[in-house]
Symmetry: C2
Subunit: 594 residues, 2 copies
Amino acid sequence: MMFGKTLDTTAVSDVLPDWPSGPLDRFRSKASFDWKQMKLLLEGEDVIRFKHKVWSAFEQEPLFARTPWDEPSRDQERQLTYKRLKKLAGFKFVDEEDYIHNPYLVPAFIQSIGQYDWSLCLKRELSTEYFILSAKTGGNHDHQTLIDDLKATRALGAIVITELAHGSDTKMLRTTATFDPATQEFVLDTPDLEATKVWCGVLGQTATHAIVFAQLCTPDGTSHGIHQFLVPIRDPSSLRPFPGLLIGDIGGKIGLNGLDNGFMQFKQYRIPRSALLNKNADMSPEGEYKVRLSRDSNKKFGKMLGILSCGRVFIILKAVANLQSAITISVRYSGVRKQFGPSNDQEWPVLEYQTQQYRLMPYIAASYVLHNFFISIYRDYVDFLIGSFVLDAPHEAEMGAELHIVSSAGKAMCGWITRDAIQESRECCGGHGYLKAARLGDLRNDHDANNTYEGDNHVLLQQTSNFLIKLYKEKTDEGKAIDSPFGSFLFINDVESILQTRVGDSLASLPAVLSAFQFLVCWLLKRSVAKLEELGDKDPFVAKSQAQVYYLRSLSMAFFECDVLQRYSNFLQETTAPENLKQVLTDLGLLYAL
Amino acid sequence: MMFGKTLDTTAVSDVLPDWPSGPLDRFRSKASFDWKQMKLLLEGEDVIRFKHKVWSAFEQEPLFARTPWDEPSRDQERQLTYKRLKKLAGFKFVDEEDYIHNPYLVPAFIQSIGQYDWSLCLKRELSTEYFILSAKTGGNHDHQTLIDDLKATRALGAIVITELAHGSDTKMLRTTATFDPATQEFVLDTPDLEATKVWCGVLGQTATHAIVFAQLCTPDGTSHGIHQFLVPIRDPSSLRPFPGLLIGDIGGKIGLNGLDNGFMQFKQYRIPRSALLNKNADMSPEGEYKVRLSRDSNKKFGKMLGILSCGRVFIILKAVANLQSAITISVRYSGVRKQFGPSNDQEWPVLEYQTQQYRLMPYIAASYVLHNFFISIYRDYVDFLIGSFVLDAPHEAEMGAELHIVSSAGKAMCGWITRDAIQESRECCGGHGYLKAARLGDLRNDHDANNTYEGDNHVLLQQTSNFLIKLYKEKTDEGKAIDSPFGSFLFINDVESILQTRVGDSLASLPAVLSAFQFLVCWLLKRSVAKLEELGDKDPFVAKSQAQVYYLRSLSMAFFECDVLQRYSNFLQETTAPENLKQVLTDLGLLYAL
């Protein structure tokens, strides 16, 4: 939100045409601000132009044509998505230079594809971007030929982690990779049905390569924990799986049916020793397991947390994009739809009703406030990446940990807020909202996955509370000041004085509500720690489970709201926007906060 | 719930076999009660046997076979539903005698079909039952030939009300039926696109007859308001629409795609004078409009409200059925699914986690409490029908009004509670819950319609608050005691003394919570009336809109909860169930209440 260099909208008038005249004119003419200025402030000229470029290209490409009445079968959706993925690789919207010049083009690209079709967006991310990132950072060779193939969609990758019986608890995965020194190979094996790999995107029909998470075993049968293996799985020309693999499609899902999620079983499937991604540990030709010593394992752990936040940061973006789509549909419909009125010749647009406003306005506010939250946490993420990989910054572990804490709660809460916004939008559109063509059903069905994948939301809230408790205890027990490079929990250093302050009578300003939330976070921290001590004679695992409701879970939720408001307040303070825009933004912030 | 004559489960052991042994045994063995006794208490032997008969017939009929992996296209769903409807008409599960003997078999039948497939259930209801009811009560001839055809599915009916621009506000429908004395015909006409009939179930592809709601106009062009016309629309053998009608399918919906919802435009479509359902008004051959004088229009209005409650009463049933389906899936899954644990060799079923219990238990409680709510309001409905049509009871208008008030809020609130229960169930099943085969997506998509059709939920809440305010004012302004034949709002007669009582410290019993809710309803009534007076200088329509949030809407919601608890308390007081069942039921009631 900080790169609205200028608010002169003439500069973007070629890509932001005026609205066509219609029944919404009466509402639009009442606006206290210029929507083009607002857009310029929030997105900046580069992003606006870039999105316009992407969507124009989609509009002109026959393969991307569709109507709201299409009802493709799952097979057709799969084929379309595959063809569009290949076409997408041919468009050259940006090169990597552009991304470095303006990193906001990355989320702009994801959002542009996703608002067109989330299956396509995910298929691209999983098969190409995440796969390349994992291969690059995993070690062993430079994989350049494969990466070139992936970028050109001659090869597609699948990240293969989850098993039928283990999802969130990845340490318990049971697929084995046992080294056989005689042939210098690993033997991948699926011990039983419950260890079948499932849900992996792109695996069902199209992936040619997989990064497989499996227990690495030395020839003596000892397991050394989960490691990653880069494995060819299908012939790239025929897309037939190689012998020794049982691969299939997991079938219809609630949404995202353009994406081929699959399952896989290994039957003594042999891969070369070099398939192990050996950055952190390696296997000698003799079958000896060797951990690579790290300079600083704590630092490495923090850094890893930061890198793993990537998926969650982008789910926050996806949630915000879905929120914006849903609320746009329902607010516009509410402006057009008339029903009842003081007299028969004077029907009201349903948007004029208090109830309809009460149902929709908070989500309009959320779409602004959470957009800022994403922009802000994405900036932190970019700073972390630069700090970590380019500058070797001193705080990279703390940056990584902070990103982990904020993005865990953020992903969960943004996912839920959007879920509720889509549902309210669907109901606000009455019967017409139940039509497939209204798109709210598809939005809901596609968005739904965000609440359970990349970490189940409830498990993620536990991550946030675990880390907050740890920091708090380090401070209170060891007197260690809390390091918060991005400022999200600096205020916890003042926990005692915050708990002494009483919130004033009025909550009619953003700073007042923010103070109230800071108080709440501190209070819940203290109460949670006390609750955990009260349960101290139990196993820590049991104690943590029994302190979720009213304590740890509430703590994570309050922390999220607090952080969202903090980031929004910062934005309002720093922005040089014209006063009328600032007023609207302040009102929206306060409405969201309350 | 009152007909559990005996709790000797040996009597139903042939239709209630024991559970097969499996991973849920460890939970089932801990139960403090016998589930068969509970079932017998809540449903009674007749209903249990009847459902078993229906489902056994479905299991044995190849046309009803299906798997959780089926993904039929919309066309295939339509064809299957049509064929199954015809097959269903051939099964003779009950005759009308049985229904009179035990009226609970009616909802049992609806639930049995619906839990198999809601599209089939709705198609049957709309095309046959509601249609026959409307034709029978509408007047003009006895329609016996048509009714016989409908029962044998040689003909299918569609109730055609909603237009593109008017749904909830039926008074504003704009389709016209103008009488032409020259030919003794009505001419049906659609004045413009916005007056196109839409959404009507069964109309899209299969209805042969329609009951059309249209403005009746005399030859001089005067409109006499909305009347119903029984109109043939398709040739029964070819299913081709007759000339003068433009009929089509409205396309894909979020769910219920086995049901063919359609649209229709009339182009000077001529129907005989006798097509007018003339119970309340008629047209003379000379073109003179004549209202039939009613003995007591107030009484007639109350009676009509009661009859119209039918659709809502059954949506409450449908919501409860969906709630039961969803919670059964998620609780069983949570008992089987293990993830994490105090140590690696001791993984916990996720049902053991506090958070999972916190998420699911309230909905288990709701499934019991709302089941009782349905049983209770259905009993009232049956009493009303008998009182109204058989006995000509003195209170039939008040009974009708009370049913209207209770079923309006009940339909809205049960719809929402089930919506939330399905969503929580879906998320509680993690990734596996996102599979189509898990059924939670289809449940959600099918149930979704319940929140906007048969009266949008928010509009229905207004119905409840409007009537409550009216009764309250009649009492306070005119000193008229509130007549509540079913006892739902008798307590409002004591409004002043209730507002004087202070709720005790403890809310740990059902009577205490019920008193608190009665207080809340009284308080909201008083506050709402004050708010409306405060807004008194505005148009009453505007005032009502501006008093929704925090006042009228909250009033309806609190009234619903109060009534639900009242009915549940009555049940607990009256039941002769064994003490261990009663204890569980009391706990569930209290959990729901809090």
